[in-house]
Amino acid sequence: MNIIVCIKQVPDTTEVKINPETGTLIREGVPSIINPFDTYAIEEGLLLKEQFGGKVTVISMGPPQAMEALKEAVAMGADEAILLSDKAFAGSDTWATAYTLSQAVKKLGEFDVILCGKQAIDGDTGQVGPGIARQLDISQLTYVFKVRELDPEAGTLIVERLLEEGREVVQAPLPAVLTVVKDINQPRYPTFLGIRRATKMQIPIWTAADLPDTDPSKCGLEGSPTQVVRVFSPPQREGEVELIEGDSVDEAAGILADRLLAEKII
C-alpha cells in the first residue's frame, strides 16, 4: 500500500503570548511543532503500513525550516519525505495549499490512502483535506475516528467518522483522503534508530518547477482567492471573577444558583 501523509509545521499556539500593549503575537522562543492532529495521521499511516505493508511518504508545504517536521516524521518511522518549498508557494490560502499538495501527490504516482489531520491548530480551517480530495477527484472521509476495515485487494475501506450527533460508519472505495481526529490512535515516539536515519536522510525539496503541469497562477498569493485585510486581538472577557463564599457549601451553592438564575440563561 502506498500511503501519503500531509503534515504542517505550526507554532505551538499554547506557547504563543500576546503583547498586551500592541495586541500582537509574541513568537520569540515559541517552538515549532508538527501540527498535533497530523501526528495522529502519521501514526495511522504507520499502523496501516504495519498491517498491509507498503510505504509511508510524508509531504509538507512550507518554509525551509519545515524540514524539521519532516525529519521528525521520518524518525517516527515514515519511509520517505518531501518538502514543497518555493517563494512561489508563499502566501497560499487553503485553496492554493490544497492545489499545490495535490500536484505533488500526482507527481508521487500511485497511492491508496492520503492521511491528514482534521485541521491545523494555527489556521483551524480543516479545508485542505477536502480540497485535496476534490482536486484529485477521490473519496473524502473527514473526522475519521477509526479505520474499521481496509481491503487493499478489493480497494475498499470502512471508517467511523466522529460527528456532532454520534459516529457515522461509512464505506468508501480507495484511493481516499482521510482526515483524522485525535482519538484514532496514540502516536508513537521517535526511536533512536529512527532519529539516526532522519538525521542522515537527504529530504528532497520540490519547487514549483518540479511539479509537472502546475499552473503557477494557482499557487501562492496569486492563486489564493482569500486575503487577510486586518488582524487584531480578540476582545478580552470583561470584568473580574466574582468569587462566591458562604458559611457552608450549601449556602455558597445557593448564592451561585441564584446568580445564575438571575442571568436568565437557565
Partner: protein
C-alpha cells in the same frame, strides 16, 4: 520565502512595523527591518511605515471579470434524519440581514429526502426562495452528491455570498464545493459584515488558538463563501405567514454515481451534541476518575445541559473523546459553561472562552480558569457540585 519586500534604502529603522506585526515576523538587524519565514503577507505593516519602504506583490485581478453577475445570499440548510439543525436557522437569520444590507434576496438550499417541511420552515425563518432537491440518494449527507448538487446550482444561479454551518458536515461540504468552484472560503467565522465602500463580505474569525482575530475578504472570486460557527448568531423567530418561493430541482447526481455508502450510525446512550448545547457542565483532572463524572452528569441533567471534559480527563480514559472541549476537541459557545476541577490550560480556554457565562469550581484559587470565569467557588467539586445540583433541583422545582 517571505513575500514582503523591504526597500533597505528607504527604511529608517523606526521599528513601527516591528511593533504592529501580529506574527512577530519582523525584527531589526543593523538598524534595518528584516522579515523571516513566519510572515503571512497580511499587510498590517504596510500602513504604518512612514516612508513606504514595505510592499507586497500586487495581486492580479484576472478573475475579477463578470463578478456583478453574482447576486443574492445563499444558505445551506443542514439536515440530519429529516430535521434541520439550529445552526442553519441561525445562518438564515444572519443571511437575511446581509441580504437586506445588499438589497438582494436570500435563498436557502435544502437537500434531502422527504424534506419539504424544511423548505417551508426556511421561508418562515426568513428565506425568500428555496431550492429544494429531494431524492433518496440525498437522504443521508454524503460529500459527493451534496457537493456536486450545490456546485451545479451555484454555476447556474450565481450567488454573491454562500454561507454554510461550521459543523462537521458543513466544513466537509464547503471545502469540497469551494475547491471545485475555485473560490475563497473562510472557515469558522464569528462575525460577518458588508464593507460599506466595496460591498465585499468581511469575514472575521479567530486563529492561532483564539489568540488573534483575522478579517478576511474574497475580492476577485465568487461566491464569497464562509462557514459560520454554532451559536454565534441569534436564532431568528419563525413567521409562519411569510411567503416565499419553493423551487423543486431535479436530482443532479444518481445513486449509481455515488461511491460512498453510510452503513450505520452509532449514537451512544446519553451522547450529547456539545456544539448545540446551551449549557455545558464540564469536568477535568479534578474529577479523579470515570466515577467522578457522576455528580457532573447529575448537575447537567438538572440543568438540561451536556457533559464536557478537559483533555486531561479524556487522555486518562475517564470519558470518551466526543466530550472533549478545547483545541484538540470541540469548540463550544454555550450560554453557561460550568468548569469543575478544570485548571484552565490555554488549550481548554481556546475551546470555551467565548461562552456567555463561565463558572469555575476548583480547589486551587490560583487556577487560570478563574481568570476567565464570571463566577467562581473555591472548593472541592465533590461537595460543591452536588450542593449546586440540589439547589437547582429545589429552585427549578425538579
Amino acid at each position: 520565502m517571505a513575500l514582503l519586500e523591504i526597500n533597505k534604502d528607504e527604511c529608517t529603522g523606526c521599528e513601527a512595523c516591528v511593533d504592529v506585526c501580529p506574527f512577530g515576523s519582523l525584527s531589526m538587524v543593523d538598524g534595518i527591518t528584516e522579515v523571516d519565514d513566519t510572515c503571512t503577507a497580511c499587510g498590517a505593516c504596510l500602513d504604518v511605515c512612514p516612508v513606504d519602504a514595505l510592499s507586497l506583490p500586487e495581486r492580479p485581478a484576472a478573475a475579477a471579470e463578470g463578478l456583478e453577475a453574482y447576486q443574492g445570499v445563499w444558505v445551506w440548510i443542514e439536515q440530519f434524519q429529516g430535521e434541520a439543525g439550529s445552526i442553519s436557522w441561525e445562518m438564515v437569520g444572519e443571511g437575511r440581514k446581509l441580504a437586506d444590507r445588499r438589497e438582494t434576496t436570500l435563498t436557502a438550499c435544502v437537500l434531502g429526502h422527504d424534506v419539504e417541511h424544511i423548505a417551508n420552515q426556511a421561508i418562515a425563518y426568513g428565506a425568500d426562495r428555496v431550492f429544494w432537491v429531494g431524492d433518496p440518494s440525498l437522504a443521508v449527507y454524503r460529500t459527493r452528491p451534496y457537493a456536486t448538487t450545490l456546485v451545479n446550482l451555484v454555476r447556474q444561479y450565481k450567488p454573491e455570498i454562500f454561507l454554510l454551518g461550521a459543523s462537521s458536515r458543513g466544513r466537509d461540504l464547503a471545502g469540497s464545493v469551494a475547491t471545485e468552484l475555485y473560490t475563497g472560503l473562510t472557515a469558522d467565522c464569528t462575525g460577518l459584515d458588508i464593507d460599506p465602500e466595496t460591498n465585499l463580505l468581511r469575514q472575521t474569525r479567530p486563529a492561532f488558538g483564539g489568540n488573534i482575530m483575522a478579517t478576511i475578504i474574497c475580492p476577485n472570486y465568487r461566491p464569497q463563501m464562509a462557514t459560520v460557527r454554532h451559536r454565534v448568531f441569534e436564532m431568528p423567530v419563525p413567521d409562519e405567514t411569510r411567503q416565499g418561493q419553493i423551487i423543486a430541482i431535479d436530482p443532479i447526481v444518481g445513486e449509481d454515481e455515488v461511491a460512498t455508502k453510510v452503513v450505520d450510525f452509532i449514537t451512544e446512550q446519553g451522547e450529547v451534541n456539545l456544539a448545540d448545547a446551551k449549557i455545558i457542565v464540564s469536568g477535568g483532572r479534578g474529577v479523579g476518575g470515570p466515577e467522578g463524572y457522576e455528580p457532573i452528569r447529575q448537575l447537567a441533567e438538572v440543568l438540561g445541559g451536556a457533559v464536557g471534559a478537559s483533555r486531561a480527563a479524556v487522555d486518562a480514559g475517564w470519558i470518551p473523546y466526543a466530550h472533549q472541549v478545547g483545541q484538540t476537541g470541540r469548540t463550544v459557545r454555550p450560554d453557561l459553561y460550568i468548569a469543575c476541577g478544570i485548571s484552565g490550560a490555554v488549550q481548554h480556554l481556546a475551546g470555551m472562552g467565548t461562552a456567555k457565562v463561565i463558572v469555575a469550581i476548583n480547589k486551587d484559587p490560583e487556577a487560570p480558569i478563574f481568570t476567565v470565569a464570571n463566577y467562581g467557588i473555591v472548593g472541592d467539586l465533590f461537595q460543591v457540585v452536588p450542593a449546586l445540583t440540589e439547589q437547582f433541583r429545589k429552585k427549578l422545582h425538579k
